[in-house]
């Protein structure tokens, strides 16, 4: 019986979340998503499929877009994680505002992941076409299916950013 319990023995992990050091103590199998939500209190990242299919848990891990449900918390020792909360420290970002204006937000559970993935897209491909946006975003499911509205929001934010820079 105690065999089963050994998996629950916690391991200490220190990482940075949105620029702040965070210490968590987690069993080996706990995902970064669960650790962020349940141990570190960052509940903005959402859990739906837990298989890396829906993108609701998207975060930046050392600057790279990942599905936090497919990363173990113990793998992130010393890493720098940015969650949706980290994208709106000084109020809503341009992208978040465009999501609202475009009518892209319905129930909202997929939206944090959509915003993170869209932010990654705008950073890596500032001039993305509608087709490229659809391709890059197709790992983020929306069942209310605001897809068309989200594409419009990303295009609007991209236009503004390109104009400004």
């Amino acid at each position: 019986m105690n065999d089963h319990l050994s998996q629950l023995e916690p391991i200490d992990v220190t990482l940075q979340v949105n620029g702040t050091p965070v210490d968590v103590s987690v069993p080996a199998h706990r995902t970064l998503l669960d650790a962020l939500r349940d141990d570190a209190g960052f509940k903005g990242s959402k859990k739906c499929c837990a298989d890396g299919e829906c993108g609701a848990c998207s975060v930046f891990l050392d600057g790279t877009l990942v599905n936090s449900c497919l990363v173990l918390a113990v793998e992130t020792e010393g890493s720098d994680v940015t969650t949706i909360e980290g994208l709106s420290v000084d109020g809503l970002s341009d992208l978040q505002q465009e999501f609202l204006k475009a009518g892209a937000v319905q129930c909202g559970v997929c939206i944090p992941g959509q915003v993170v993935a869209a932010e990654d897209l705008l950073r890596t491909n500032p001039h993305a076409t509608a087709t490229e946006i659809r391709d890059a975003m197709s790992g983020n499911l929306c069942r209310c299916a605001g897809y068309e509205r989200i594409v419009a929001a990303i295009q609007a934010a991209a236009e503004t950013r390109v104009t400004i820079s």
Binding site: K46, E53, V109, I133, L141, C144, Y147
Partner: protein, 767 residues
Amino acid sequence: MSGHGKPDDQITLGSAVGESVLRYGGADRVSGAQQYLSDLEFPDTAHVAFTTIESGCAQINSIDTSAAEQLPGIVAIVSADDLPNAKRFGISHQDRPLLATDTVNFHGEPVVAVVAESTEIARLAADLIEVDFTPLPGVYDLDSALADDARLVQEPDVRPGDPLNHSNVLETAEYAWGDVAADEPSAHVIVEDTYNFPMVNHFTIEPGGVIARPYEETGVEVHSPIQHPFLLQRILASIHDLPLNKVRVVAPDPGGGFGGKQTPRYEPLMAHLAMRTQRTCRLVLSLEENFQLMRRSGCRIHARTGFAADGSIVFHQMDVDFHIGAYADVAPRIMAKGSYVGAGPYRIPSVTVDARAVLTNTTPSCAFRGFGAPQVGWATESQIDAGARALGMDGLEIRRKNLVDAGEAFIRGDHEATADGHWHESLEKAAELLEWDTPKPPNRGRGIAVGIKPGATSGLSQSLVRLLYDGSAIVYAGTSDMGQGARTLWKQILSDELGVALEQITIISGDTESVPFDLQTSASRSTVFMGGAVLMACEDIRRRVLELYAEVTDVDPDTLDHRPGTIMTPAGTVPLVEAAQTALGKLRGEFVGQGTNRLRGKSGHPLGGDAAFYEFNATAIEVEVDPDTGEVLLVRHATVGDVGKELNPIQVRSQDEGAAIMGLGHSLMEQVMLDDNGCIRNLGALDYRIPTYNDVAVDMLSASIENEDGPGPYGCKGISEGALLCTAGAVGAAVADAIGVPIRDLPLTAERIWKAMQARDSATADN
């Protein structure tokens, strides 16, 4: 119409309705601050996990919990044996047990509930519990459920006194008018076929869950992302023998509902566990568990339709079997309501619809956007196109011929229903958007279809509005905001009706302790019903302000009047807020208005009453089919709804596109697949596919017809299901047009289309 949302401060006071006001609660949703069920935290929480078995139908022989009991941190382990006096529950039929009792009746039905100090311990314990079971010959499809020797999904004593309780038919519905036998000879062409609509999952991005807590000594407080908090309150009170005031239901905004979160499932059990352990008990579902909680009813329709030489429909006959699952939930009503509009919005002299709700050992089906209408509509729309093909007409022409005009009956007989809109306008607009008459490149096909769905038929919605002294306001409205944006509309209505700035309005919902009764959030009813209640509450406030203003200023109330946002006096208009302040005086205070909007049902009506409105939609689709693989590319998808009035254009568009894309799911790719033991083969996101960004049409077009002819505020109608009603019909017709042969079973997977092309080619070769 504005195509882009506007911040509150860019809207002129008094003209919020009709503008794309940004959604209420939007900022929290884009920043991750919105608290859904799984984001709620309570002190001293215990965690719940279920033990299930890998079988869709089995006799439970014994349960060994010994290994699980030895784990540290176990609070309770509960199976049906521990609940000897537990009642079954349900909406129309009290057939669902708290935990599987003697038998497991569908894959994933919980057998044991473990309450533990952590989610990990609970899961571990649930997995260590061994259930010894004997597989039974379950019925997993319509044919096996309807066979003479079929095993009964429900023992007859679950439905005592029911004449059908020795069969797997739970309920039936029959609609008929005219005389098919008499009209049949005038048919020039008769088409007859069988159509299948798959079981599909809601796939809400929030899988769901329940948190239950002891409340006021003997009571219980249940947090659930439920669409109908008051229904849940009623059922919890009834099953646990509690007065309503001892049952508090708190409903955080559902993370997607689509009908899937209307009815109680695990809440009664969770309430029991909380009362039994006197702990806060938390259950957060996985997506796999969500698949075992809700689905759309599958459906098989046999249809026979006669057409005159000019394309007029002469008669239409349907036998409709809904494949509803192991417990009733609201499936009998889905069967009744979906088949009520089974003959579509057409002028048909003779119709018979015979429908059955058939129990099977599968996930209990429940409400899902369209409420039975998409299933039956798939067959009827396909039959109309079959008639058109036989007569050498096109899909637009035959619908122009048969679609009813405003005010004309499309359901005849004792409970006639007439068109409450100018539906031809939607049809023409959809055809125009698709450029229906332009030439088509090779491998392309076009289809057009229409759909109708009856709105709510009865029920009460109440709202309270408090106009505070400083001109801000609080609205209490029980509608669940699951994405449709109801609260945004209440804000718009209130702003215009009371002359209160949008940013000074707060909406309270989702708590039976503080919010007055609302029957439910379903059937696209809320804008009409609750919107009307909010409007009435505002008028009530204006009357009260007027009365007190008259008294305080010592004028004859008969010389005063009120209009949205203002009190009219002989000396001129006074803004309502100013009049309210004058009326309240130095000691201040507030005005409370009440709105009560009740639609009374009609006894004897098969739906319990006339629909308050009909949702009508026309969808036109152009596809390109890969002739070698059968893959479908959606070239253009145009959806047009008859909405009455767009209270918030961007929200209407968002709902319309969303419904249209959801419709593509069951049309092209979605289906719950079972193995021989009734277990779901594609459980979870890896092998149950829903549309992604890349599965939407290259051109996705959405438009509305606005004639301000609805029963809701400002002439609006409900709008959030329309664009899904006839997606399948339009896609099906487009694919048939592209490949030259129709396909009658959904979804239209590439493989199915390829097989149809193979059959077509071998038939050609044979000739």
